[in-house]
Structure formats: structure tokens, C-alpha cells
């Protein structure tokens, strides 16, 4: 399964981004404003388009809190408020969490190729979700099971690699936290293959959709939105420390950064982000890897700008990909993970190869 046990990066190739000017609060605010505007546009498009077309006025009336006041809601309003709105919000939350998780793990592991699933969170979630699907429980049971699996995996890696997490990745020898996560992910991958082999044919299609990342069943965006708010509130104030941590643990500690507490905090924030995203939308690939890199290439690697920008841009990316996934082959709906992977692979290869010649 591509999305769970990908080849893990060990050597960091040069992904070079170098803007001409240093980041400032003003420049960062402009970037955030532009991304927020893009998010609004994609959000509006997600509500308005689909197999039933809805006018902007109907979208606005569906969003208005007084919609129930005058009689029964029409069908357009119903579609927007019960189907498209939760799905768009879930897409935004998943993408924001994944890009945020990727950006955080890239700092924690000091490795540009780290992504939210690299430490096995998605594998644990997927294995538990598949077991729930085979057992035939309701959708909320699958989600609860996925959430439990994500946290089992988080605790497993935390327990196995706690010394490396405390001490930091050695700069020259093998990155052991990364390897522990990668091997755990590979173990989950084997388990997932086994479950797919044993699963009854009737359930197989839903399971494959889940593994590729699918927002079709995402009826409940609120847990993911709450997780996003919590992670952002925890991480944004720490962003200046993340910049310093990239210089290495010794340098950061000598500059007054509480390195140990920060590393554990980043690990937990990234894990919660990945767990919430996987629980809501399955393993949507490449967003956590590609979105932070696109922002780095465009605007530099200042974490104070990058952390909020990654959340906004990741949200735009998944919300937009889901819009494509449910309109491009309508009335059929593709899993959103297929769109992010199909777009992510060439974009990532282009970034990797094209920048080197400069």
C-alpha cells in the first residue's frame, strides 16, 4: 500500500529555496492573507459546484444562521449544509493538519523529506480502521478505531525511540528516531496487506478507498477542526524556537531554547495532527511533504511564516483536490488521495530535479 509504507528518506537531497529578502512580520502577513483569500475562493467553489449546481445566493442562504426561520429548506440549501459544507471543512482541516504535521516533522528530524506518516501514525490508524471495517462497525466506529490505532502507533514509537527523541538526531550517524518510525510503518504495512488478503470481497472496495484517502465518509469535520485549532495554538507561539532548533540541538540549547520540551511538544503536535487527519480522511498522501516544500521554495524556510502558511496552503490543497475528485468524473467520485498523489508526485519530482540545475 503506497500510502503506508513508502520508501523512507535517509539522505537529504538539496531542496534549495532562497528568497532574496529576509522574512518580516509584514511579508508574512501578506503571504497569510493571500493564502486565506485562496482558501475562501476554493471554499466557495466547493460549496457551489458538484452534480447539482447551486447559486452563490443559495450558498449564502445555506450558511446563514436564520435559514430555518422561513419554512422548509429547499434542496440546494440542504445539499450545501449537510453534504458540501462538512466535506469542505473536513478537507480543509485534513490538509491543514497534514501540511502542519509535515512541516513540524521536517524540523524535528532535520530532514527535508520527512512527512506526517513517516513515523508510522497512518499505518497504525489504517490497520485499526481495517479491522473495524472487517468487523462491520458503523462509520464512527471505524473513525474511533483509526484514532486509537494512531495513538497506539504514537506511543509505540515514543516508547521505542524515547532516547533519540530526548537527545535529538545525531547529525552524522543513522537517524534512529526516523528509522524506528519507518520500521514501525513497515510493520503496519505488512499487517494491512494481511488484513486486505483476509477481508471479504464485499468490504474490499471501502477499505481500499479508506487507504487511499477519502473524504466521502467525512461527515464530522469538527474533531479535525478542533485538533487544528489546538495544534496551531500550541505551535505558532513556538515558531521562533523552531527556527533555532534547525541549527542543531546544542546551538538551540545554548540560545536558551528548552530543547527537550520543544522536541517532545513537536512530536506530540505532529502526531496529533496526523492522527486527526487520518481519522477524518484516511491516508491522504503527499500533502504533508509537498506543501511545506512549495512554501519553502517560494518564500523561504522561516518557521514563523511557514507554520501558519502550511496550515492555510495544505487546507487549500486538499479542499481543492477534493473538489476535483468529486467533479472531474461526476457523477462518480474519486478518492481525494488519488488526486493529491497524482498531482503530488510530478510536482515533487519537478522540485527535486529542476532546482538542482540552478
Amino acid at each position: 500500500m503506497r500510502s503506508v509504507s513508502r520508501d523512507e528518506p535517509h539522505a537529504a537531497p538539496s531542496l534549495r529555496a532562497l528568497p532574496r529578502r529576509s522574512m518580516s512580520a509584514r511579508r508574512a502577513s501578506l503571504i497569510w492573507a493571500a493564502l486565506a483569500l485562496a482558501a475562501l475562493v476554493v471554499f466557495a467553489a466547493s460549496l457551489a459546484s458538484g452534480s447539482v449546481s447551486v447559486t452563490l445566493a443559495q450558498v449564502l442562504s445555506a450558511l446563514s444562521p436564520w435559514q430555518g426561520a422561513h419554512g422548509a429548506p429547499d434542496m440546494a440549501t440542504e445539499i450545501v449544509s449537510t453534504l458540501r459544507l462538512p466535506r469542505a471543512l473536513a478537507g480543509f482541516a485534513c490538509g491543514a493538519l497534514l501540511a502542519l504535521g509535515g512541516a513540524l516533522l521536517q524540523v524535528l528530524l532535520r530532514n527535508p523529506l520527512a512527512e506526517p506518516y513517516v513515523l508510522g501514525v497512518s499505518g497504525g490508524a489504517a490497520a485499526f480502521a481495517l479491522v473495524a471495517m472487517i468487523a462491520g462497525v458503523a462509520w464512527w466506529g471505524v473513525q474511533a478505531s483509526a484514532c486509537a490505532g494512531a495513538f497506539v502507533s504514537i506511543l509505540l514509537v515514543l516508547g521505542l525511540a524515547r532516547r533519540e527523541l530526548w537527545r535529538g538526531e545525531p547529525q552524522d550517524s543513522s537517524p534512529r528516531l526516523l528509522l524506528t518510525g519507518a520500521v514501525t510503518a513497515a510493520g503496519w504495512g505488512a499487517l494491512i496487506t494481511l488484513l486486505l488478503t483476509l477481508a471479504p470481497d464485499t468490504r474490499l472496495r471501502g477499505m481500499v478507498f479508506w487507504l487511499t484517502g477519502d473524504l466521502n465518509g467525512a461527515g464530522m469535520p469538527w474533531p479535525a477542526l478542533v485538533a487544528l485549532a489546538v495544534v496551531l495554538a500550541g505551535v505558532v507561539p513556538a515558531a521562533p524556537m523552531l527556527n533555532v532548533l534547525l541549527r542543531g540541538d546544542a546551538a538551540a540549547q545554548a540560545l536558551g531554547v528548552p530543547v527537550l520540551r520543544l522536541r517532545v511538544g513537536i512530536y506530540l503536535a505532529a502526531s496529533i495532527a496526523a492522527a486527526a487527519a487520518v481519522t477524518t480522511g484516511g491516508t491522504i498522501g503527499f500533502v504533508g511533504l509537498v506543501v511545506p516544500h512549495m512554501l519553502r521554495l517560494a518564500f523561504g524556510n522561516d518557521q514563523r511564516m511557514l507554520v501558519p502558511a502550511a496550515a492555510l496552503a495544505g487546507g487549500v490543497a486538499v479542499m481543492g483536490a477534493d473538489l476535483v475528485a468529486r467533479t472531474v468524473a461526476a457523477p462518480a467520485q474519486l478518492p481525494v488521495g488519488v488526486v493529491t498523489a497524482l498531482a503530488g508526485v510530478p510536482v515533487f519530482l519537478w522540485m527535486l530535479l529542476a532546482r538542482r540545475t540552478r
Binding site: L18, S22, N243, G248, L255, R296, N301
Partner: protein, 277 residues
């Protein structure tokens, strides 16, 4: 909180161990403003361990370290970083960033509010780059720098931190001779311009004798010599610490410690030699 009359740095009965090995046994020494200390010793003698302990990055087996009269453990970390800067050995960057931005990171202890740098911070970064002749590199990508350039950028970052006490681990590694001298001259000027002190580890005993005021020579078994550089980095003591016989030769005002020739048991016939100080 700190006492203005206290020495910038003091070791009080400091004992450092690595596993079963004792690297430094009960070091008591003050390091005061205006002094440039060279920490010398063979590989593995404990230079990095000592600098790490003096910076507060590693625990000592016994004793403690004071900065401006206050024990390290009692300093709030950010306040401490405003008073002492550390340049660790061999830093690597994983991501692209400009040299200027990298140097600016060392202004972290001075940031306030939402943590964005102000004009003072930018001025400090430009001044630090200028002090080491690195203005031309300001816009370069740190990933494209050579080992020596990276080393000088790390030194500029330490200067940019604006702390009166500098602890430098191998600041001259990977540098050409003329850059070594230029860096040491810049550091000498930096120490003289205000009440500041530097402690750096170094493998070149001759540069140490020329540019530092004091030396701390570690023998790697817990023993050490500390004091004015010419009383510590003598041929006898250096020979004992490095396990190879060294002689001091003089040419006018110039002096150099050089390895003794294996064949010459006596050094008295070497021209200009003054081996038996």
C-alpha cells in the same frame, strides 16, 4: 541578578567525567574580562566536554560553573544566552537559508513580542558579518558554503548574539592560515572593545601563544595547567600533554613550538633554539 564586579565566568571545583575516565579533576579558575583563553590538549582530552560544561550544556560530575557570579542552574536560559554565547563544533544545516538569516537566528535571546527581529537585530547581524569580512556572503545560501566559510559564518553568528562571554569550540577548524589569523585578530579587537572574554579550543599552539592571553592545557587524565599562555604552553608541559617532544624556536620576535626531530636527543645545537626554558 548578576553581580557586575564578578568575573564573567568561573569554574568552582569543576570535575568532568566521560564514562569511567576523569577528564578534568577539580578545576577552580576565574575567567575575567579582557582575557582570551585557549583550551588545548590532545584529541579526546576533554576540550569539547569542558566547553560544553562551561556553557551549561552538560552536567558536571562535581563542582559548578558561575557566569557573572551566578551559578548556571540559577540563570533563566534566555537571560543566560544574552550573557554568554556558544559556538558548537561542526554545525550542519539541513535546509537552505541565507547567511544573513542564519546569523540572525542568534538574536533569538533578544527577541520579544511575536519573535520578529527588529532593526537592532539586523544591525547586529551586519556588524558581526562585517567584523569577519563576510558582508559579501550575506545573501549566499548556507548550503553552498565551503567548510571554512561555514565556520566563519558560525563565528559571526556567535558574535551577533551580543553576549560578553564567548565560548568557541574549534573556531579555527577548516580555516586557511590567513583566515585563522584574520579571525583571531577580529576576536582580539572584539575583546578589547568592551568588557568581554573569550574561551576557545584550538589545536595550533603557536596561534594560541600569539593571540591568547591565557591557556588551559588538559592532559586528558584529569590534570591541567591554567595560567598566562607563556607559562602554560611551554615546551615541557606541551610535550607532556601531547605525548611528543616539542621544542621552542625563536627568530627575532617570532617564536614557534615545533615537534622535535626524532634523532636529536639534545636540541641545543638547533639554530636559534631555546628549548630549555
Amino acid at each position: 541578578m548578576s553581580d557586575a564586579s564578578a568575573p564573567l565566568l568561573a569554574a568552582r571545583a569543576l570535575t568532568l567525567r566521560a564514562g569511567a575516565r576523569t577528564l578534568v579533576e577539580s578545576l577552580t579558575q576565574v575567567f575575567t574580562a579582557g582575557e582570551i583563553w585557549c583550551v588545548a590538549g590532545a584529541n579526546g582530552a576533554g576540550k569539547t566536554t569542558l566547553i560544553g560544561a562551561l556553557a551549561g550544556l552538560r552536567e558536571s560530575a562535581a563542582g559548578h560553573v558561575e557566569v557573572e557570579g551566578v551559578a548556571l542552574g540559577e540563570w533563566p536560559p534566555v537571560r543566560l544566552a544574552q550573557r554568554r554565547a556558544l559556538m558548537p563544533q561542526d554545525q550542519r544545516d539541513a535546509f537552505s537559508a541565507s547567511v544573513l538569516d542564519t546569523v540572525l537566528l542568534n538574536r533569538y535571546p533578544h527577541l520579544s513580542g511575536w519573535g520578529w527581529e527588529g532593526d537592532t537585530d539586523r544591525a547586529a547581524a551586519h556588524a558581526a558579518l562585517a567584523a569577519l569580512g563576510l558582508e559579501a556572503l550575506a545573501a549566499r545560501d548556507v548550503l553552498s558554503l565551503s567548510g571554512g566559510e561555514r565556520q566563519r559564518v558560525a563565528l559571526a553568528a556567535a558574535l551577533c548574539q551580543g553576549a560578553p562571554l564567548l565560548l568557541l569550540d574549534e573556531p579555527l577548524a577548516h580555516l586557511d592560515l590567513h583566515h585563522q589569523i584574520a579571525c583571531l585578530e577580529a576576536l582580539s579587537r572584539w575583546v578589547r572593545s568592551e568588557a568581554r572574554a573569550i574561551l576557545f579550543s584550538c589545536h595550533d599552539l603557536n596561534l594560541a601563544r600569539r593571540f591568547s592571553t591565557h591557556a588551559l592545557l588538559l592532559d586528558g587524565h584529569g590534570g591541567f595547567h591554567a595560567g598566562p599562555v607563556r607559562e602554560v604552553l611551554t615546551p615541557e608541559r606541551a610535550s607532556a600533554a601531547f605525548g611528543h617532544s616539542l621544542v621552542l624556536i625563536r627568530e627575532g620576535a617570532h617564536e614557534a613550538l615545533v615537534p622535535a626531530l626524532a634523532s636529536s636527543a639534545s636540541t641545543s645545537h638547533l639554530p636559534g633554539s631555546n628549548g630549555a626554558r
